[in-house]
């Protein structure tokens, strides 16, 4: 049973690793679909909590897979999920990095680079949508989201301040 879970953690995240163009933020809906809806590893709420913890932790946001892995199968789960999510894409990055400079001016290289931008934008937009649905269960939470989006778009404030304030609002207010 436990081995099965490790195996499916590995399989899902290794596959996702190769399609997550746009990074962690682009992969959120697929993680949500797998962890909450398909595999029932965690509740919607636990997924949203994991996202929040990954956001306030230092380091790459992809670290949310470590949290999901830990939730599913403890320390081995955390290790397997992290390696699966980073391994395949790192190997690709390593191989491409060695050859890429040679094709700097090539037309196909420019087309690939330009063509992937809108795809990853759409995927990240989908992440925002899926997360908003998991996170904003009250009008107050939705207001915090809207205000933060506005502040984030118009200023360059350090996100830690926003997280601190919104955590406090969550604690004291009736979210």
């Amino acid at each position: 049973m436990k081995d099965n879970q490790l195996l499916s953690l590995f399989g899902y995240f290794a596959l996702l690793s190769l399609f997550a163009v746009g990074g962690a933020n682009a992969a959120i809906p697929e993680m949500h679909r797998i962890a909450v809806e398909v595999m029932h590893w965690m509740s919607d709420r636990q997924f949203a909590d994991s996202f929040a913890i990954a956001q306030v932790s230092p380091g790459p946001n992809i670290i949310i897979v470590t949290l999901i892995g830990y939730h599913v199968a403890g320390l081995p789960g955390a290790a397997v999920a992290t390696i699966a999510m980073c391994g395949p894409s790192c190997i690709v990055a390593f191989l491409v990095a060695r050859t890429w400079d040679r094709f700097k001016e090539a037309r196909w290289r420019i087309a690939i680079q330009a063509g992937l931008v809108p795809v990853s934008l759409g995927l990240i937009g989908a992440s925002a949508f899926v997360l908003a649905r998991s996170a904003d269960h009250s009008i107050y939470a939705a207001i915090i989201t809207a205000l933060t989006a506005l502040v984030g778009f118009t200023t360059r404030i350090n996100p830690l301040w926003i997280f601190a304030l919104s955590g406090l609002l969550g604690l004291t207010g009736g979210l």
Partner: protein, 189 residues
């Protein structure tokens, strides 16, 4: 932090493996809300391991490769200076400290996640984090949608609808849309 001296000296210094590890470890723990500005400061401005231009190119490459951008960047950058060993060392520096921290947080959450107080704090933080993500999307979308109403916004919308509304698996959406998008980019050049 004054604006960094423009890379007037073209002399680029080669880091040792230990220096690589240390630089990425520092970047990883200081990189709240995106490690890019920290990585740039450390690599281009403080250490002069790359010129600003080389940095931009390596980062552009990392961004459109699959997988987490900063993680890709550590591999691309590390491999340039030390092959497999360099890539491994940079990656270990980037992932090591955050992994230790987040594992501790995961244990705490497993133990105290049911506490109502913690739950309320996390609800507030999640709501804000989603807001910041929306801001990122808006910033990315602005130039794309403003330029010209051509194929690019349509592809972005199709990817959004496929994943968020219809809820198709991401690999499926990608396999269908990426070739179309790349073909469009090819033809409009």
């Amino acid at each position: 932090m004054t604006a960094a001296a423009p890379s007037s000296s073209p002399t680029v210094i080669r880091p040792t493996l230990y220096e690589l590890f240390r630089a990425f470890a520092v970047v990883s723990v200081s990189g709240f809300g995106g490690a890019l500005p920290w990585a740039r400061r450390k690599i281009v401005e403080q250490n002069r391991w790359m010129t600003a231009e080389e940095f931009n190119e390596a980062f552009a490459l990392s961004q459109f490769l699959p997988g987490p951008n900063v993680v890709n960047f550590s591999v691309v950058f590390g491999s340039r200076f030390g092959g497999v060993a360099g890539a491994a060392v940079a990656l270990a520096g980037l992932m090591g400290p955050p992994l230790i921290i987040v594992t501790i947080l995961a244990m705490l959450y497993a133990r105290f996640g049911d506490l109502e107080m913690l739950g309320r704090i996390l609800i507030g933080i999640t709501a804000a984090a989603v807001g910041l993500l929306i801001a990122v999307v808006a910033k990315m979308a602005a130039p794309l949608f403003r330029a010209r109403w051509d194929w690019a916004p349509l592809i972005a919308i199709a990817a959004f609808v496929g994943v968020a509304i219809v809820q198709w698996p991401l690999p499926l959406v990608f396999v269908v849309l990426a070739p179309i998008s790349i073909a469009c980019a090819w033809m409009t050049r």
